[in-house]
Symmetry: C2
Subunit: 220 residues, 2 copies
DNA sequence: CATCTATTCAAGAGTTTTATTGAATACTTA
DNA sequence: TAAGTATTCAATAAAACTCTTGAATAGATG
């Protein structure tokens, strides 16, 4: 008879390939970034502050366990998540970590609440205010990510642009800024800049995918 | 201003703790086993064919990332999953791996379908047949796991016992056997034994948790 | 109190990861 | 075709991980 141990060993070794993809902080960061849309190796390297060679190596590990796939586009190799399910899976990993690890809660509190006294807005609240035309919604991520997907009604104004054009922006309109979710600080900076100019600005902790989730529930 | 890199580095390091838990085949096997109920270190070591010291070490890694928790009971230390959500999460890891990795599909096919020409039964089918009193449902896992949770109407007959008492079992009744799901071979062996005695026996690929999931959907 | 037992600890060897560096490759574009 | 650019490859050093072995510990039981 076939050895049960044999099956188990083979099987869990395979399962662990997925686990190994998630066992390196850097790889997790890459995966998270890719969940906001396809990116070139160079772009990933720049936004994650890693060397290109290192990113390339990690991407190959990820491709090996079928977490990402790539295609050549012009001079660039564009990587993206191999499957939508992976994005969902990453989210559940985050929520699990947030629930189980006190450390994460602490980091979150320290960096997001205490350090920046920035008022947050909830999704239903945002929707209401937008319908009434009370606020302008700002997507401060890079333009490409906005093009990939954005919250309906949002205006694209990447954080770099915001920094430059700050002086020429109107100040008479309330603003809500969002970026790549809770752990991304671009919207935090945006709100700080705007507030310093006297604009009533708020941060949306949620991101595009949260919005899509939210709308799906509403429609159901 | 606070370094965004700083936040990211800290954060993903924490997230990766969960990933690291899942990056070792042995740890995954332990987690899976624990998803069927609390177990002592010794029991885990025996069923996974690992040394006690090694299991203890892995369990400590897992406890460190808050995947499992332990309590002292008599002479034993009993470990269990720290949270029900972890069980769900493990399942989604399995389904992801099964979907993405051709290897897993191959292993499954090789070990479960080709090698054993054993007819499987689906959950709705099982329910129908049980309601009509046409089949006996056998839970061939260790007694403790049956006590922890089992499919309603199932009879506990651990595989070892089945082996011993085989000769004294009735042969005039159709049987469906189940154990720890798709990748566990105890039910396969049970079916083989029973079939060799001339009993009409079938395998249920699903397990208790699948059943619970199934019932929940039905009730909704 | 002494013994027994399940578990943990500690040290070490062997392997596997990870980031770095510099070169190689493959593809564009002028 | 030649130059340029994005990515990958290859080699290496440092760090982390995994399993084993044998001893230590803590708690239960006689």
């Amino acid at each position: 008879m076939i050895n049960e141990r044999n099956l188990k060993d083979l099987l869990y070794q395979e399962f662990a390939r997925v686990g190994k993809s998630l066992s390196s902080p850097k790889r997790l960061e890459i995966l998270d970034l890719l969940s906001y849309g396809p990116k070139s190796v160079e772009t990933i390297a720049k936004t994650t502050a890693m060397s290109v060679a290192n990113v390339s190596q990690h991407l190959q590990t990820l491709a090996n366990s079928k977490m990402v796939k790539s295609k050549k586009q012009g001079n660039y190799v564009i990587y993206e998540l191999a499957d939508e399910e992976i994005s969902t899976f990453l989210e559940s990993l985050h929520s699990l970590a947030e629930k189980q690890l006190v450390q994460v809660q602490q980091i979150k509190r320290e960096f997001l609440n205490e350090q920046f006294g920035i008022e947050g807005v909830s999704l239903p609240e945002l929707k209401k205010r937008m319908e009434r035309g009370e606020v302008m919604l700002l997507d401060v991520r890079p333009k490409e990510e906005y093009d990939e997907a954005h919250i309906p009604g949002a205006v694209s104004l990447p954080i770099e642009e915001l920094r430059e054009k700050l002086a020429s922006l109107p100040t008479n309109c309330d603003v809500v800024a969002y970026c790549r979710g809770t752990y991304c600080l671009m919207s935090v900076e945006a709100v700080e800049l705007l507030q310093a100019r006297g604009v009533k600005a708020f941060r949306l902790e949620k991101d595009v995918r949260d919005w899509m989730e939210f709308e799906k529930k509403g429609i159901k």
